[in-house]
């Protein structure tokens, strides 16, 4: 299961994330599990595959807000990077960046194994 220690090891700023939840660890970890079911990860991947940069921007922007609120710093930083590139509609291959993000999502999910 996902724990505070595992999240710290992952690079999450758990102190900040927990304080945003009034120190309620149960709530923080529950929200963390909700992130795993977040549909925008798949939407982002599908949009990038179709080179639909508008849809990709919407998805990554939504993820950025969620990941930032949970202080999942490594994933948040990645979404910031993708968001800014997509904001300026930079012509490039986004898939490596998206794959990095998805790999971190999978790493987070693996904490439940």
């Amino acid at each position: 299961m996902i724990t505070i220690d595992k999240l710290k090891e992952f690079g999450a700023d758990t102190d900040e994330g927990l304080s945003r939840c009034y120190g309620n660890e149960g709530l923080y970890l529950r929200l963390m599990n909700m992130v795993l079911t977040e549909s925008n990860f798949d939407k982002l991947k599908a949009a990038v595959e179709k080179n639909d940069l508008d849809a990709a921007f919407e998805s990554v922007h939504a993820l950025k807000g969620v990941l930032g609120n949970l202080s999942l710093t490594p994933m948040y930083d990645k979404t910031v990077e993708i968001t800014e590139l997509l904001r300026s509609r930079t012509e490039m291959d986004y898939m490596p960046l998206v794959n990095d993000l998805l790999a971190m999502r999978d790493e987070l999910a693996a904490m439940n194994d």
Binding site: R20, Y22, N24, L31, M34, K64, G65, V66, G68, N69
Partner: protein
Amino acid sequence: MNQYLQANRHRRKVLVVDDEMVNRELLTAILSMNYNVDCASNGKEALDILHSTQETYSLILLDLLMPLVSGFEVIEACKADEKLKEIPIIVMTSEKSAEVRSIRMGADDFIAKPYRMPEVIIARCERIIELSEEKALIRSIEKDPLTGLYIKLFFDAYVSRRFSNMRGNMDSLMIRLEGAQPTDEVLKMIADMINDAQMNSKGIACRADNNIFYIYCRHRENYEELFDQMQRELPDGIRLKVGVCVKVDKTAPSESWFAKAQSACDSVADGKTVCYAE
């Protein structure tokens, strides 16, 4: 008032609108200590809830980028709706440009994403609700319920604070009804005439006493036609007297403009309705 608001805070309802479940859950957890929280997952659902609920929400916390109906469209719809337009809105966004746009559209404040500490969110919500309720309270007492014109206390304050620096020449007027006691219908008729003459929209008007009205409005060359017509429409036995101070001296205190208008009103000649101050 703060203590009163504090004591009644728990009864207030807040609507959180965000398409992200994590954000909704987080905000609900933060806000539910102080408020009753309802949630909507997009703009359309938010508008449906707002339209179907009898009880008024004290605040809407609104995400901007959402499917179906965006946060911008929710702001637009709320501000165009008589029932909803007074509900304060705090937008939640990470986009600087969106903050400016939403505030221009009528949002009251914004909370940046990622959210800051919960105490900051609560403090901002409290402040916006407090301001909104104070504004609503003032609106409920600033006007005379019979005529819809301002009462004298607020008229004086608005003239000196908001309207004294209006560009262009301004006139001050005192209208007094003499003779028979004016009925409610007559008083409403006077207020309607003031509104029809756009003295209230291009200035400000009040009912100062039972039979006295004050107006501060854009300068016009001739008042006789307007007030002679008004006199003709009044019931027999009611005499209209109007004192006018044209092109008021804005460097002088507003009381002096109306003192001059009153003096002119006292000097209206027999058979006339209007007298101009020297």
